[in-house]
């Protein structure tokens, strides 16, 4: 027998009370008259220490009552008791983990898995309790652990395989949670899966409770041959004034034999664009480049497919082909600027196709409203900012979301920045710092976490230190608002700074881009830096051409049903909520409000989601292409026993365990409830004590 609260045994000290009561003779206050003390006087007087306990039966009853009460409070439980454990000892807590990843679509794996789950449900005893967990890369309880086998069977019949990838850890963690909370003696997790190796990593943390065992049910087969289109890329180019698009697809062969004469096709909105025949080595990949073509001036659904195999879900790759996006930049030069002042700038922006830059030059003094029409970025290249109406227009352009790049050079003076631009530029143009004597200086980036410079964070991703700056201008900050300094020269002067103004952005480079004050334009980092800078200033965000199954999209920012183009991802203004109809690849429709939690759409299915406004049934719909993850295409398996041993405590993976090993002492004590019997016994003893005590007192009278 063990005690749950042994500290209560300290209450046994109360035994002193009856001992003292029965040892100590209560002396009556009033003297007892007696004829003569002749004989009493002869008897030697004895102190209480030498006295014996009187009324032994009463003493024993009182002591027993105290002992029983103390024992009841100490909450005893029997280690070997079978009280309340007989049923639990026989019963099982079963967690059925059913793999619903898309690899289960291979052959008849899913049918076998469902059949195995049904067998488990059918084999449950009357006292068993089972729950169903469906898992892929996430796990969810499809059936709560209730004592209703029929419900489990129904839940199994309702289960459908998904498009997710296999991850055992979430499912095992859920099973761990269920089994941990179970008080049943035999606890099992039955894992029904094809046991893909990609679904398990040694770093995953999943461990079933001690005493629980994992029963793997492998419904896979030895055949692991599989071919898949794992990736598609769009290579945009220009042919004259026309955009040309070339689609590249990566084909993988996960089998052990060479895939010969594999036909790879490209369809666009159902129309075959091109097809190629390739050979793919066993365990290897190959890239197929389709013939370039002119993309349509609208969004189109493209599909790269290969001939179907046992696992068809990864044999087609869908993507969204949007018209190429263009960034329009206007360069404002000093009226006295020589030809070629913006040569490096123009040439750098003219390179590249994603997005394509269109660049034009103007004198800063000849700016009119039409020049800002459709512009994304304005570059003030070592020139005074326009004044008057032009200046106001440029200011409104920035406040409305446009980007402004200001470079300071030899022609920039303190007067170059008029006062109406004070809130934009937040300072004045200072003096020239000449570092020729020092053979120039370098700039050091102070904030690589900034979106503009994040691209250059890692080594060999762009070396700013190779650029030498011989002259630059000081930027004197004024006002309360300060520049967000992104880079400084070695003397601490600002080299690159940014300020957010209204919806737009302003970036200042304190050394010109003319290759006279520095050699930055001829450095390798210049081109990507400039492209990154213009995209940052324009708020450019390339649209996703496809999503992976399981991803979650926020319908409030995607898609924008009212506009398209460069800023299609701009958030709709708050309060301007829309009701959208989402049609899944399986044809299921749901209405979602972008102002509620329903705006988060989980892309459960593979295929094409269509989203349109609820009140505009005939209107255009946005397309979301969803593909399965290529990680699931690799059908290589892990040894189920290896997985079982990895997630179970040593020694408990096989056979049932005893109840004593699984139930906590608290659970055993609660089930045995010995304290209750002890309390009843104490009550009976106290009743007997009362009766006996009354009799003794009555007899004494």
């Amino acid at each position: 027998m063990s005690l749950l609260a042994p500290l209560f045994l300290a209450g046994l000290a109360a035994l002193v009370v009856p001992i003292l009561i029965h040892l100590t003779q209560r002396t009556k206050k009033e003297p007892v008259p007696f004829p003569s003390l002749m004989f009493l006087r002869r008897v030697p007087f004895k102190t209480t220490r030498r006295q014996k306990i009187r009324n032994w039966l009463l003493f024993l009853l009182r002591s027993a009552a105290i002992v029983i009460l103390v024992m009841a409070f100490a909450r005893p439980w029997m280690r070997n008791s079978l009280v309340g454990t007989a049923t639990l000892d026989r019963a099982r807590e079963v967690v059925v983990l059913l793999d619903r990843s898309y690899s289960m679509a291979h052959g008849e794996r899913w049918d076998r898995a469902v059949e195995a789950a049904r067998d488990v449900a059918a084999g449950l005893g009357p006292d068993d309790r089972a729950s169903l967990v469906l898992f892929s890369d996430r796990a969810e309880i499809a059936y709560q652990p209730l004592d209703d086998p029929a419900g489990l069977m129904s839940a199994i019949n309702r289960a459908r395989r998904g498009a997710g990838t296999t991850r055992f850890a979430p499912a095992l963690q859920l099973a761990e949670q269920i089994l941990e909370e179970s008080e049943y003696a035999r606890r099992e997790a039955i894992l029904i899966s094809d046991f893909q190796r990609a679904g398990w990593s040694a770093e995953e943390e999943a461990l079933l409770p001690e005493g629980a065992r994992l029963v793997p049910v492998d419904v896979g087969d030895r055949e692991t041959a599989n071919r898949a289109v794992t990736e598609v890329a769009i290579d945009r180019g220009q042919s004259g004034s026309r955009e040309r698009v070339s689609v590249l697809a990566r084909i993988a062969n996960f089998g052990t034999e060479v895939a010969n004469d594999l036909e790879v096709s490209l369809d666009l909105d159902g129309q075959r664009i091109d097809s190629r025949t390739v050979d793919v080595e066993a365990g290897g990949t190959t890239v197929v480049r389709f013939q370039p073509f002119t993309p349509p001036q609208r969004e189109a659904l493209g599909t790269v497919g290969i001939s179907e195999d046992e696992l068809p879900m990864d044999d087609a790759f869908r993507f969204l082909l949007s018209p190429g996006q263009t960034l329009s930049a206007l360069i404002l030069e000093h009226p006295n600027a020589p030809v070629g002042e913006s040569l490096y700038l123009e040439r750098a922006l003219g390179i590249g196709s994603d997005p394509v830059h269109t660049v034009s030059r103007r004198s800063s003094t000849r700016l009119d409203p039409s020049h800002l029409q459709g512009r994304d970025v304005v570059v003030v290249n070592d020139a005074p900012l326009p004044r008057g109406t032009a200046g106001r227009l440029l200011r409104e352009f920035v406040l409305g979301g446009g980007g402004l790049l200001v470079t300071l050079g030899q022609r920039s003076t303190a007067n170059s920045w008029p006062t109406e631009f004070t809130d934009l530029l937040r300072g004045t143009v200072g003096t020239v710092v000449d570092r020729l004597d020092d053979r120039g200086t370098t700039l050091s980036v102070t904030d690589f976490d900034h979106p503009l410079l994040e691209l250059f964070r890692t080594p060999r991703s762009g070396d700013f230190s190779r650029a030498r700056f011989f002259r630059y201008r000081r930027l004197n900050q004024t006002g309360d608002s300060e520049w967000d300094v992104l880079a400084r020269f070695d003397d601490g002067e600002i080299a690159l700074a940014e300020a957010r103004v209204g919806e737009g952005r302003v970036v200042v480079l304190t050394s010109g881009l003319t290759n006279s004050w520095n050699d930055f334009p001829v450095q390798p980092v210049f081109l990507p830096f400039l492209h990154q800078l213009t995209k940052h200033l324009a708020g450019y965000a390339p649209g996703r051409t496809w999503f992976a199954a399981g991803e979650v999209v926020d319908l409030d920012v995607f898609p924008d049903m009212e506009s398209s183009g460069v800023r299609s991802g701009v958030v709709a203004s708050s309060g301007d909520y829309r009701e959208l109809v989402v049609e899944s690849p399986s044809g299921t429709r749901s209405v979602r409000n972008t102002g509620e939690d329903s705006r988060y759409l989980t892309l459960e299915e593979q295929g094409v989601y269509r989203v349109r406004l609820l009140d505009d049934e005939a209107g255009p719909s946005e397309i979301v292409a969803v593909n399965v993850s290529s990680a699931e295409s690799d059908l290589a398996t892990i040894d189920p026993e290896e997985l079982a041993s990895a997630v179970t405590v040593s020694g408990s993976s096989s056979g049932s365990t005893s109840f004593s090993a699984t139930l906590t002492p608290e659970e055993r004590e609660r089930r045995q409830g010995l304290w209750w019997y002890l309390l009843v016994a104490a009550l009976l003893v106290l009743v007997a004590e009362t009766v006996l005590s009354n009799r003794i007192q009555h007899a004494a009278r």
Binding site: Q25, K28, P31, F34, L40, V43, A700
Partner: protein, 297 residues
């Protein structure tokens, strides 16, 4: 109704009139003696014997002379007209009673009954009470029954008592041989008691000791510790009855046994009563003693 029940001291305690009480007890007792082997002890004819010179001529049985022509003298048993005196210990210790009646009450009933009974035997009755000294003395007389009963009725126990001193005085007071009945709880050393009573005995008195005790003194039924207070001296001592009981009872029994042994050895009759005993027990004891005394005579 059984006699023994009727003579229960607890029942008799409800009778205020001591004479009525004594008559009730004695008459009932005598009625019960119709089947007793002790009937007719005192005045009955015993035997004839041949006339001897010096015998009273009035005791010659002339009828026998007429039939046999010889002189025979009639002799009777217990034809005594003896003095009967109760020596009543009225010390404070006699005023103890754990039940309804005290030892003093019990002794009072006993004395009344014995006096009344003796008077019916035509003895002269008297009483002498004492504690540490002689208090009341009613000389034995055939006419003193009322005074004796009145004296018994007015007995009070208020002072400490002894045996030796008063007995010596009594020995001086009693000049005629008497039947002396001592009623006492005898809280005295047995040697002192016996020596004192021997003084009476040696003066020709027949002494009968009625040792009256309360059941609590014999059984010591106390359980709770308490201070026990001596009724006579007022002294109190702490007593734990459970631990003292055995030794007390041993001492008490030794005391009683010693008394009995010593008194019997000294030819003094000894009877021990507890106050729960029926009064006819005492009368039986008394009559048994009288019968024996008559035969001896």
């Amino acid at each position: 109704m059984k006699t023994s029940q009727f003579l229960d001291p607890k029942v008799l305690a409800r009778i205020d009139n001591l004479e009525l009480l004594a008559r009730t007890v004695v008459d009932g007792f005598i009625n019960g003696l119709h089947h007793s082997p002790y009937f007719g002890l005192s005045v009955d004819f015993a035997e004839h014997r041949q006339y001897m010179p010096g015998d009273d001529i009035r005791r010659v049985d002339w009828r026998v002379f007429g039939r046999t022509d010889r002189f025979y003298v009639k002799e009777y048993e217990a034809d005594t007209n003896a003095n009967f005196c109760v020596l009543f210990d009225v010390s404070k210790s006699m005023d103890y009673g754990s039940k309804e009646i005290t030892k003093l009450d019990y002794g009072r009933y006993l004395a009344a009954c014995l006096s009344y009974f003796s008077r019916t035997q035509r003895d002269r009755v008297g009483i002498l009470t004492f504690d540490s000294a002689v208090k009341d003395y009613v000389p034995s007389s055939a006419k003193h029954l009322d005074i004796v009963l009145h004296t018994i009725d007015n007995l009070e126990a208020s002072n400490p008592g002894t045996i030796a001193g008063p007995i010596n005085d009594i020995a001086e007071i009693l000049t005629r041989r008497s039947i002396l009945v001592l009623i006492s709880d005898l809280y005295e050393d047995p040697d002192v008691v016996v020596d004192s009573l021997n003084l009476l005995r040696h003066k020709g008195n027949d002494v009968i000791v009625f040792h009256v005790l309360d059941p609590a003194e014999i059984e010591f039924p106390f359980s709770d510790a308490a201070h026990f207070q001596d009724l006579e001296s007022g002294e109190s001592i702490p007593v734990v009855p459970d631990t003292l009981r055995d030794q007390y009872l041993a001492l008490m029994n030794e005391h009683m046994n010693t008394l009995e042994h010593r008194l019997v050895t000294s030819r003094i009759d000894y009877c021990r009563f507890d106050t729960s005993s029926p009064l006819d027990f005492a009368l039986f004891e008394y009559l048994a003693r009288r019968h024996r005394l008559a035969r001896v005579r």
